[in-house]
Point group: none
Chain length 115, copies 2
DNA sequence: CGCGTTGTCAACCGTGCGGTTAAATAAAGA
DNA sequence: TCTTTATTTAACCGCACGGTTGACAACGCG
């Protein structure tokens, strides 16, 4: 079993069905039936996907009568974004320039009042 | 089997050992033995991890005599970054106002027709 | 209450993953 | 050539994953 949250999040995102579910939820919360509609899989399968997403902290669920609407958990992807930031310089050209600039500043004067 | 590159990349990143390997490679290329050293797993296991990373396009491998150094593939993470960009407004503070606006909209027209 | 709707739980199945050990391959060096 | 070093391949193992079907629970409504 996966104890590490970041691993759980990456693993959750590795499935195309789950990414599609997230895309749908980015337009607003939805019931399980609504989420299942575009796919050719059974309802329990969708229910399992939602459980995976929930354990990864990517969604949360409510209750309204017999519906259990799922909604995107807004801050969840921030952890991944922060992990990626460490590698940003490898693919983002504009970051290279900023990086160089920051290093240059840092060399001479650490606590300068930048306004 | 996974044919989708994005899925393969997320799956590759879901393993902590592989993320540690990437972190090591972000400081420069390394041989399999060097990469294996911090871990308590066998060499073939590391070799398999490298193959997963390579198939995901995250690293590439060379040959120098009997060594097969691995190096980070610079542009690889860009695909993931672009996927995440779609969700940026959900966690980035500078989009807070937009987010609040979307939530407000969402309240009104949630579950209309259909089931 | 009984009924229909919505969703989950339980059990099962096939496949792939991360790990192992043992053997094979590749290249440098004596 | 024979040996040493570096790495991959092959075969296997246990387990988690994504899927199924069938039964069950929760709730609104007549």
């Amino acid at each position: 079993m996966q104890t590490d949250l970041l691993s759980a999040q990456f693993a959750a995102l590795a499935d195309p069905t789950r990414r599609a579910i997230l895309a749908r939820l980015s337009e607003g919360e939805a019931s399980v039936n609504e989420l299942a509609e575009p796919f050719d899989i059974s309802l329990p399968a969708v229910s399992k996907h939602l459980k995976v997403l929930e354990k990864a902290g990517l969604i949360s669920r409510g209750r309204e009568a017999q519906w259990r609407p799922a909604r995107l958990e807004p801050m969840a992807l921030k952890g991944i974004a922060e992990w990626m930031e460490h590698y940003r310089r490898f693919w983002d050209a504009s970051f290279d320039r900023l990086d160089a600039y920051l290093k240059k500043i840092q060399q001479g004067d650490d606590r300068g009042p930048r306004n």
